[in-house]
């Protein structure tokens, strides 16, 4: 409860100030945002750190092709493009035309149009022609269970795009889809990092990956965010795949 300077009872107006002023600070960048695009969250900054640590000692990853699926404002794509080597490239996709426009604008602001390609479309669809060529996949997909949306902070529930938040009944629809596709998109030894809603989703994903596609991934791990919430699932595409298990290659690409 605040009190106005005239001493009368007042209330705070909650809003996404980032939409009002049209931008958000994220890492060392300033990104343009507008209604229809998810405001990048501080937690997601950590994905760039994870990638940064990784590419430092790995030339193949540093100079390879990366994908940021569901890029929104382009935050992850730009963050990663800035730490890749001169030959490193990023393809960013989003289903929302608004997001594609905003991300393209941000990419231009950072003069990275030669490094980042933005494509309109759902998840792996726009990436079909480069299947199996990626050294890294990152994504902050919608992961909030549908029935939770109404209970969120008003400025999130009412003003941020549902498309970027709603992950279906248990919030896992898009995450599972990404996991299924990851094996075929990545080169052997390629890295992936996905943001999730918390411990439950992380554990589910890890279990799922170990059960469903035993040998396609290695080093699958859960990483906590700065607040200690289990937030990210990371891992690598296994270097040599096991031919006795052909199922691992049957990946549904919707």
């Amino acid at each position: 409860m605040r009190y106005g300077s005239r001493g009368l009872k007042t209330g705070d107006l909650q809003t996404n100030s980032q939409y009002v002023v049209g931008c958000e600070h994220w890492r060392d960048m300033v990104l343009s945002v507008e209604e229809g695009v998810l405001i990048p969250r501080p937690e997601t900054e950590l994905i760039v750190d994870l990638v940064g640590d990784l590419v430092e000692g790995n030339g193949e990853l540093r100079e390879g092709l990366w994908a940021d699926m569901g890029t929104g404002s382009g935050a992850l794509a730009i963050g990663i493009a800035r730490i890749l080597g001169p030959c490193g490239r990023v393809i960013a996709t989003d289903l929302s035309p608004v997001a594609v426009a905003v991300a393209s604008y941000n990419v231009q602001r950072y003069n990275l149009q030669d490094k980042i390609e933005i494509k309109l479309g759902s998840w792996f669809e726009p990436l079909k022609n480069v299947e199996g060529q990626f050294v890294g996949l990152v994504s902050n997909p919608p992961y909030i269970p549908s029935h939770h949306i109404i209970g969120l902070q008003a400025e999130v529930a009412k003003h941020e795009p549902r498309l970027a938040l709603d992950g279906g009944a248990n919030g896992m629809n898009d995450l599972l889809h990404l996991c299924h596709g990851a094996a075929s998109m990545l080169k052997p030894g390629g890295f992936f990092a996905f943001e999730t809603n918390g411990e439950k989703q992380c554990k589910f994903l890890v279990d799922h990956m170990q059960k469903e596609s035993k040998s396609s991934f290695s080093g699958v791990d859960i990483v906590s965010d700065f607040a200690g919430n289990k937030r990210f699932v990371t891992g690598f595409r296994a270097k040599s795949h096991n031919p006795t298990n052909p199922n691992e290659w049957t990946v549904k690409i919707n």
């Binding site: 106005g4 009368l8 941020e160």
Partner: protein, 586 residues
């Protein structure tokens, strides 16, 4: 008689903040407690300056010398206890015309004065290391003559400023020597002549008087000769034990909200300020002080308390000597008051910690801390995080493992908005007001006639939203603000690391350690120091510094930023302590 020159020199050497003319303070104190007419004890507060550290003699406790009326009276400064017994004669010497009869006793007094002053001059000259200063001038001049000197403008300016400072200091040291020699000559001459020349002696008296003024000021700047004293300051206030008064009476609190709506505007201000936490009051005090010194003050971080006031706040104060002056404020500040939250109005004590660090530019901190010595942890208000929330304060905490020194940094300056209604009886018709704040500072406020927005329920809510959007947009465009302050984890981390470095440098300096590695942990633990000052609201009004003993009954003025007497007294105190230690070592 180069009186003006010396004055001028002293002015340049001295910071114009404390010793310059006292800025008239605004009498209006809208959010401070309504209290009886301020009774600042004019005879008392300047007295802080009259606790003269006697450079060579053993330290005696400060005591009020009520007989003197001017802060820099020569006798109070230059003479030992013998002369304190006869202050009137000294003063009348200075004030009366030449016609005054000089007897032998007066002459002896003067001779003693001159001797003491001469000794003092010698000490000052010896302690300031003239040869080193001249060496410094040569070094700086060589640097300034370099071809690439202007390539780095900020460095060039720093060097030139340093050069000026050193030159002024040398000039002053030369001048005081000439002057004290003049006075000595007069005394010697009088002794030889065996007769008393009133006019000549009068001149010696005023010489000594002036000299002592200059020496006083010189010493005050000497007090600010620490390596970071000239820098700006970062002030960190934390609500300590007590915080929001412990035993809240929820009924009273609930009623207070209604009181706000009922009471006339001014009374509600008083109530509001009563609601503020102690840390919040301290924050305001320092910000006001900074404004009075014409420093640039910026509240860069603030986290609100749960009930009222703040949990912590960080203020950056830019300006010369800000760190030097404020460094003595480090410690625990205690308030005693009747709790506004307590139904029985019981007396309650709260504590707040104040920490001061120099505001150092990153490049000037030649500190390399190995990554493995740092424990970096991030925090965010609990909850699910991620996509679930937006606009939540984030913070980073860095601990330097070998010393245990910790800094916390939150970068979250966000524009917020308040709105409310003026009932018809206040303004002749219902009005809606909308105000935009940056942290707590009102940056824009507008009033709208209620007719324009009157409707019910959610629709009205929607219209207020619209108004706010419009207002914020106008405000941001008018002030050419495109961006909100950064609040990213990376920015927090960078800033926290630079704070940590500054803090380690200060601790190293305090412990005379050459490297961070040499810092001893034991002193770090007591980094807040103990309680340094009491602010008592009830049952009587008193602010008392427990170190210097300086006190005033005008609590309101002090909380309004009238801190100079306390700061000066502390600097003097620190100096006399240092001198006492130095004598002890000898």
């Amino acid at each position: 008689m180069a009186e003006t020159t010396i004055e001028g020199l002293a002015q340049t050497l001295t910071s114009d903040h404390l010793l310059g003319p006292v800025h008239s303070c605004p009498t209006r104190s809208p959010t401070i407690l309504v209290s009886p007419k301020p009774r600042i004890s004019r005879t008392r507060s300047p007295l802080s300056l009259q606790y003269p550290p006697k450079p060579t003699s053993s330290l005696s406790p400060p005591r009020p010398l009520l007989g003197f009326s001017t802060p820099f009276s020569p006798s109070s400064r230059s003479t030992s206890t013998v002369l304190l017994a006869t202050p009137e004669s000294q003063l009348s010497l200075g004030d009366s015309p030449e016609t005054r009869e000089w007897d032998m006793q007066d002459f002896y007094l003067l001779r003693k004065d001159v001797e003491t002053t001469s000794k003092r001059v010698e000490e000052v000259r010896a302690s300031s290391g003239l040869e080193q200063l001249e060496e410094e001038v040569r070094r700086l001049e060589t640097a300034a003559a370099d071809d690439s000197f202007w390539d780095d403008r900020s460095r060039a300016q720093q060097i030139l400023m340093a050069l000026n400072d050193v030159k002024d200091k040398i000039k002053l040291l030369t001048e005081i020597k000439t002057q004290v020699e003049d006075a000595e000559t007069i005394v010697n001459l009088t002794e030889e002549m065996d007769s008393i020349d009133g006019a000549l002696l009068q001149e010696a008296v005023s010489l000594v008087k002036e000299l002592n003024k200059v020496l006083d000021r010189f010493e005050l700047t000497q007090l600010l000769s620490g390596p970071y004293d000239k820098e700006g300051a970062v002030l960190y206030i934390t609500a300590g034990a007590g915080g929001t008064d412990a035993q809240l009476d929820s009924v009273i609190r609930a009623n207070l909200v209604d009181l706000y709506a009922l009471c006339p505007v001014q009374q509600s201000h008083a109530l509001h300020s009563y609601l503020q936490d102690w840390a919040d009051m301290l924050l305001r005090m320092y910000v006001r002080w900074g404004e009075k010194q014409r420093y640039k003050t910026k509240v860069v971080e603030m986290s609100s308390g749960e009930e009222a006031g703040i949990k912590s706040a960080t203020v950056e104060i830019e300006g010369r000597y800000a760190y030097g002056y404020l460094s003595g404020e480090k410690g625990t500040h205690r308030i005693v008051r009747q709790s506004p939250f307590n139904a029985k109005g019981l007396r309650q004590t709260s504590f707040s910690g104040v920490e001061i660090m120099p505001l150092l530019p990153d490049e000037s901190m030649a500190v390399e801390i190995p990554e493995e010595d740092l424990d970096i942890s991030f925090s965010r208000a609990g909850g699910k995080g991620g996509q679930n929330v937006n606009k939540v304060e984030t913070a980073v905490r860095i601990t330097h493992i070998p010393t245990g020194v910790t800094v916390r940094c939150t970068v979250a300056i966000i524009y917020t908005c308040s709105y409310g209604l003026f009932p018809a009886e206040n303004c002749g018709g219902d009005q809606l007001f909308v105000e935009v704040y940056q942290t707590r500072e009102l940056v824009e406020g507008r009033t709208f006639n209620i007719r324009d927005v009157k409707s019910s329920g959610t629709k009205r809510q929607g219209q207020i939203w619209m108004l706010w959007y419009n207002l914020l947009e106008v405000f941001l465009s008018v002030h050419n603000i495109i961006l909100l302050k950064e609040r990213t984890q990376l920015a927090n981390k960078t800033k926290a690391l630079s704070r940590l470095k500054a803090k380690l440098l200060v601790i190293a300096e305090e412990q005379r350690a050459k490297e961070i590695k040499q810092i001893r942990g034991d002193a770090v633990k007591a980094e807040w120091g103990q309680q340094i000052r009491n602010y008592i609201f009830h049952p009587y009004k008193l602010v008392k510094d427990v170190r210097t003993g300086l006190e005033t009954s005008d609590v309101v003025s002090v909380l309004d930023g009238e801190l100079d007497p306390f700061i000066k007294a502390y600097l003097k105190y620190k100096y006399s302590m240092a001198m006492a230690t130095a004598v002890g070592i000898k």
